[in-house]
Amino acid sequence: MERRREALVGLVVMLGVAVGVVGTIWLQGGLRRDMRELRAASQNVGQLVAGAAVRFRGVSVGHVDAVNVAPDGEAVLVHLSVEPDLVLPADAAVLLAPESMFGDWQAEILSRADFELFSFLDYPEEGVLPAAALPDFSRLTATADQIARRLTTISERFEVAFTEETALNLKNAIDNIGAVSDGLSEIITQQAARFEDLSEGVNASAAELGAAARQARLSFERVDSIIANTQVEGMLGDAGATMSNLRELTESMNASLGDLRSAAQRADTTFARLDELLAAAESGDGSLGRLLGDPTLAEGATEAVQELRALLADIQENPRRYLSFSIF
């Protein structure tokens, strides 16, 4: 009798403790095996916090252990725990990016060669992977806005000669870019509306994007009025580079990328390049006149716009393919 009672109490106690312990471990996502420690250094880490997921080729392979500023204060060191048997690419780099539009950030291990455009930070220490943090939407729109403002100043400051034909072509191209970015922002708005109460931030950023595009178009129109009665001449050196960037944007959107995030990454890089170019022009490198005067520019732009338009049509048709928003 006494023994039976003891056994019963013991059983219940063990069951309860087992439920508590095993349940906790299970809910935490399983026992953590001996993980491999990785370190990565980045200029900044955005919203990345300890506990965030580490992904490799889209598979969750670990988590972020800690995030702290490097001793010299020049970088942020991210400590990662990943599965021990994970085979990393030779030129492994870490991209820190939002996991989803509203959720946590993640650290993605990737091959640096595939993502040359990002400015990965090379930390002067053995075994520290280069890392880069992706700008989020607000930063994209801020960049767009910056470009628009630069364009305005430049168009006010420079009175450059254009041939009428080049100017018209360019104008069309610019209009089309405006249309594309309008369309893009419209899609984002549509998508965002589905999550309206949860996603005022997205709405706002989409609206910002649209506003930036409109502003850009406004300033282009001003350029347009300037060139209407002016002669155009001059040649361009950097036009090729700009064109290839624009084409790269459209190609990458078309080809490999499965979601808006990647498209946005490319867009950001392109914006950044454009911005640099404009900044250089503004600082008096004197290439803008040539840039605008080059007939190949307009042709290239038109070509790019066609590709963009095709992409846009595809996005509209299959928004899920590009805009796989997962809120959580």
């Binding site: 219940v12 069951l15 508590g20 349940g23």
Partner: protein, 260 residues
């Protein structure tokens, strides 16, 4: 008019004094019981039987309640979360509420009736039939003999019962989600894990420890205060359930403020 006013004041004064007296007595009981903990030889032999009575015997009712709570939580969560909110949130809701609130509090409220009233009636009967006095005359410290093993047993066993209840509640919620809501296991588990923190479990354990102490403590207090025969025993049991339930909810709010 003056009479009426006098009466009102007297009523308030009377209630204040008796309330303070009750608090003083409860404090006295607490101090006495705390001091009695050192009489280990008196209470230790009774700890295991009390653990069986307070803990093991409460498991079926606790699990019964947890099962239905889980089912209802699951159904109501799916009813509430429609449209834009992903369906796996059912898992989140069931898990979080079971661990943080319903597991500990519902179990404690049930056990306030089952254990608290039981202790109160038992000690009340012992009091009115002079068994408590008999203990004293046999040189036993009634607090060490009666109160300490019961409170300790509850402090140990309440978390155990609560953990089991949480487990069963989540399991029944899960089962419901699979059978009635056309969710898949991975979805439910995703939601379950989404906002889970190990601290939640500690929170539940801390809460249940305090609830165990309150339920048995209140039961012992009113039991030992019992006067006037069978009617008094009934009154003590009722008071125990009422006061213990109130204290459980107050403590619940207290812990939520302090620990979350």
């Amino acid at each position: 008019m003056t009479n009426w006013l006098l009466g009102a004041f007297a009523f308030v004064g009377n209630r204040t004094v008796s309330g303070l007296q009750g608090m003083g007595r409860a404090w006295g009981l607490f101090l006495g019981a705390t001091a009695s903990i050192r009489n280990v030889d008196v209470w230790l032999p009774h700890l295991l039987p009390q653990m069986a009575r307070v803990g093991v015997a409460s498991v079926p009712i606790a699990l019964f309640i947890a099962t239905f709570t889980g089912i209802v939580m699951s159904l109501q969560a799916s009813y509430t979360l429609t449209g834009a909110i992903p369906v796996y949130f059912v898992g989140t809701l069931v898990g979080k509420t079971m661990i943080l609130e319903l597991g500990p509090v519902l179990t404690a409220l049930t056990l306030a009736g089952r254990v608290g009233a039981n202790i109160s009636a038992e000690l009340g009967t012992m009091r009115v039939t002079e068994q408590v006095d008999a203990l004293e005359t046999l040189a036993y410290d009634p607090l060490a003999y009666l109160v300490v093993p019961r409170v300790f047993a509850a402090v140990f066993m309440f978390p155990i019962v609560v953990l089991l209840a949480i487990g069963i509640g989540i399991a029944s919620g899960w089962f419901t989600a699979l059978q009635l809501l056309d969710m898949s296991s991975p979805e439910f588990v995703k939601g379950l894990r989404l906002f889970f923190e190990p601290w939640d479990v500690w929170f539940a354990v801390i809460k249940s420890v305090s609830f165990g102490a309150v339920v048995t403590g209140v039961g012992c207090y009113f039991g030992l205060q019992t006067e006037r025969g069978a009617e008094g025993v009934g009154r003590s049991a009722t008071r125990t359930v009422v006061v213990a339930s109130m204290l459980i909810l107050c403590l619940d709010a207290f812990w939520a403020t302090v620990l979350l």
